[in-house]
């Protein structure tokens, strides 16, 4: 397909502030014009998107594809299908595979396999330390050449602050951004739930908010000392959001994201030990959730990610503390962001910026806008269409979600990558 027209659509481009009804034209995989109808454009394919929104393809900063090594949970095939079914056209995958992404060969293989599937763009995040053990640095130069866009230690804290400082300095040397999950490993040790009434009632080992704020303070102090660019992955608390706000006001080059579930759920949703509500970081209190919503709305938190963590049923059919943390998220990202936008009374473009242009900037990739000349990666969605979250409705191999059986609103109709329609809802 070399030419494509999408007509009668509500075009929403958060990057440019565009929000109008009109047409969008694609030639040779790139957007050539947005807005007015062009009568002389000859499109091989025309999609009538009446009643639908056309946004840049979504950009997800954290989607576990489980390859290599964890194929019993999910595969590249299944999860890239889930990505395009959810309108996600670019995604970053964390290095917590088995083995972890600490070798260029692994990254090249992943990139190659993703290219062969020709669906969403896959941007691997390389391991910051070998084996994610927090001791020795990885060959970041080689890993970047192989395709890594950033470096992180996944959900494992680098305990040794000297190693952490050097890792940040080394990454800074080559202009790479370090992504860090702020959680003090000592305070969080053994913990599985937010320290509060729910954990106390249920007798679940707690993770105090101080586990997040202590590690944030460490990260910010090192960012200040090394003048390096840091991305904070998965904030969970009101206190953490306040510290991020102060760090930005101070002028530190810091960005941050939050998982979509943390904008909707809190520790009360654990109910009677529901393993689907076990997350890393843990779901915190209602005040934390509300503060995270405010921080995303005012731009303190830059991006919302799915924190996609597909798990097999066996890994969830366990006592709460033994169950795999996380939920499948690629296909729920858009509806749950739309729900947040409705509840927070935010303009659609503002809400969508948190899953398009802002994460694209953090990734440093050419994506997340409808500007002429940009790659034609698009998400065409019906913002009003309800659908029920069932096993059959999810393309992801992971059926693990606290939204199982519930109805959500907002459904992807077409997903377009490089000008090709790669997903069409039936």
């Amino acid at each position: 397909m070399t030419t494509l027209a999408i007509v009668n659509a509500r075009l929403v481009d958060p990057a440019t502030g565009l929000d109008r009804t009109g047409a969008l034209y694609v030639r040779e995989g790139r957007i050539v014009a947005t807005g007015e109808v062009q009568r002389d454009f000859r499109a091989e394919t025309t999609l009538d998107a009446r009643g639908m929104g056309v946004a840049p393809g979504l950009v997800d900063l954290a989607a576990r594809l489980r390859e290599p090594g964890l194929e019993h949970k999910a595969t590249l095939e299944s999860e890239l299908q889930a990505a395009i079914a959810g309108g996600v056209t670019s995604l970053a995958c964390p290095p917590d595979t088995d083995p972890p992404l600490d070798e260029p060969g692994l990254v090249e293989m992943l990139k190659h396999r993703a290219r062969m599937l020709n669906q969403a763009h896959v941007y691997p995040v390389g391991a910051l330390t070998q084996q994610l053990a927090g001791e020795a640095l990885t060959e970041m130069g080689e890993l970047a050449e192989a395709g890594c866009v950033a470096f992180s230690n996944a959900d494992f804290a680098v305990e040794d602050t000297q190693v952490l400082m050097r890792a940040m300095q080394y990454a800074q040397t080559f202009g790479h951004r370090v992504w860090l999950r702020p959680q003090d490993p000592w305070l969080a040790r053994g913990g599985v739930a937010h320290e509060g009434e729910v954990a106390t009632r249920l007798g679940l080992a707690p993770i105090p908010v101080a586990a997040e704020t202590i590690h944030l303070a460490t990260i910010f102090a090192l960012a200040r000392a090394t003048r390096s660019r840091v991305h904070i992955a998965r904030l969970s608390s009101a206190a953490g959001a306040a510290m991020l706000r102060a760090a930005k006001a101070e002028g530190l080059e810091v960005t941050a994201d939050v998982g979509i579930h943390h904008l909707h759920l809190c520790d009360v949703d654990i109910g009677w030990f529901d393993p689907q509500a076990r997350f890393v970081p843990p779901l915190r209190g209602t005040r934390d959730r509300d503060a995270l919503r405010v921080a995303v709305a005012d731009g303190t938190i830059d991006a919302i990610c799915s924190d996609h963590a597909p798990a097999d049923d066996d890994a969830k059919m366990l006592p709460f503390a033994e169950a795999d943390p996380g939920a499948t998220g690629l296909e729920l990202l858009l509806p749950l962001v739309l729900q947040w936008a409705r509840e927070a009374k935010l303009p659609l473009a503002t809400a969508l910026s948190r899953i398009t242009c802002r994460p694209a900037d953090i990734l440093g990739v050419d994506a997340g806008t409808l500007r002429a000349g940009a790659p034609a990666d698009l998400c065409v969605f019906d913002p009003e269409e309800p659908w029920r979250v069932t096993r059959a409705a999810l393309a992801s191999q992971g059926k693990n979600t606290p939204y199982a059986g519930m109805e959500v609103v907002g459904r992807v109709r077409w997903t377009i990558v490089g000008g090709n329609v790669v997903h069409a809802a039936v």
């Binding site: 320290e195 509060g196 009434e197 954990a199 106390t200 009632r201 249920l202 007798g203 679940l204 080992a205 707690p206 105090p208 109910g271 009677w272 030990f273 529901d274 393993p275 689907q276 066996d314 059919m317 366990l318 006592p319 709460f320 503390a321 033994e322």
Partner: protein, 320 residues
């Protein structure tokens, strides 16, 4: 999984998973049912035929000779067939999951599982699995899960208190020790507050109290003397040896000095205050022998009542 599924559609108890949220009538109903069972143990033939032909599996994923034995005796006095399985921690290394074990035992026509597990929520998981697989006729009794709940212990503690003190609505009860890790404390607190006990206190150093403990409806004390003042009931908790030296506490000696129950400290409680302990006791760590063996100690009657209460629990849920 969203709700505690221990009550059936008619509101009757079909599993015993926790005392939290149980209607007071169900709790007092079990205590009333236990009354005649106390005398069964005193008869020459210590058996009643209530659960004849029923297969009860004692499923202990965590070792506990005492609790397992009391459940076994209770089941046998109800004429049930009892099968003890000490699975310990090795089951997961063998590769069989908790729910696989349950499915296998259901295939052997189990009628009831008495479950002890080191993880909070394991009995809830089993109960919801049974419901999801259409075996709601199989019952689950939580015999202690992680730090969460030990409801049969909570009930026997309530039975003991009622036996000596009668009206819960006039009592001050102090629970002393490692509340943080204690399923016994959590279950007793829920039971007491449900039955209207106006003054429930927990006494411990800050390292042994969970966050927001006040949300359970108790008042927290760090000073044992202040906490014991005017109490009707003193419940001492067991301090596990691995927690006596480390970041929670510096030494058993210092613990005993500040939180061990001595005759001198007990004198601050009401003159007729009773002393309870779920066992096994660490003499000289949480309780002085003179108090443990003293005239106000009801620790051994607790054990006797425990069998009657467990008979009441098993016959109640099997009959619903």
């Amino acid at each position: 999984m969203a709700r505690s599924s221990q009550l059936n559609a008619e509101g009757r108890l079909t599993h015993l998973l926790t005392l939290e949220g149980l209607p007071p009538g169900i709790i007092t109903g079990i205590l009333d049912t236990a009354d005649p069972f106390v005398s069964v143990g005193e008869r020459e033939v210590k058996k009643v035929p209530l659960l004849r032909g029923k297969a009860i599996f004692n499923l202990f994923f965590e070792n506990s000779t005492r609790t397992r034995t009391t459940f076994e005796i209770a089941a046998k006095r109800l004429s049930a067939d009892v099968i003890n399985l000490n699975i310990g921690a090795s089951s997961t290394t063998k590769g069989e999951t908790l729910l696989d074990t349950i499915d296998n035992l259901c295939a052997m026509n189990a009628d009831m599982f008495v479950v002890r597990h080191s993880e909070s929520g394991a009995p809830h998981l089993i109960a919801s699995h049974l419901a999801a697989t259409g075996r709601s006729d199989v019952h689950v009794v939580n015999a202690g899960d992680g730090r969460h709940a030990h409801p049969s212990q909570g009930l026997l503690d309530l039975y003991t208190i009622r036996h000596y003190k009668r009206d819960f609505r006039e009592l001050a009860v102090a629970i002393v020790g490692d509340v943080l890790h204690s399923r016994v404390a959590r279950s007793l607190i829920h039971g007491l507050t449900t039955l209207g006990t106006p003054d429930v206190r927990v006494i411990a150093p800050a390292t042994l109290l969970p966050a927001s403990v006040g949300a359970l409806g108790v008042r927290a004390y760090h000073d044992m003397r202040a906490g014991l003042a005017g109490c009707d009931v003193v419940v001492m908790l067991r301090l596990q040896s691995e927690r006596m030296k480390g970041a929670l506490l510096p030494s058993p000696g210092e613990y005993f000095k500040h939180y061990g129950l001595t005759a001198e400290k007990l004198a601050l409680a009401k003159p007729d205050a009773i002393v309870m302990h779920p066992g096994p006791m660490n003499r000289g760590v949480e309780i002085d022998s003179a108090v443990a063996d003293g005239e106000r100690s009801v620790i051994l009657p607790q054990v006797t009542f425990g069998i009657a209460v467990r008979m009441a629990v098993m016959s109640t849920i099997a009959g619903n």
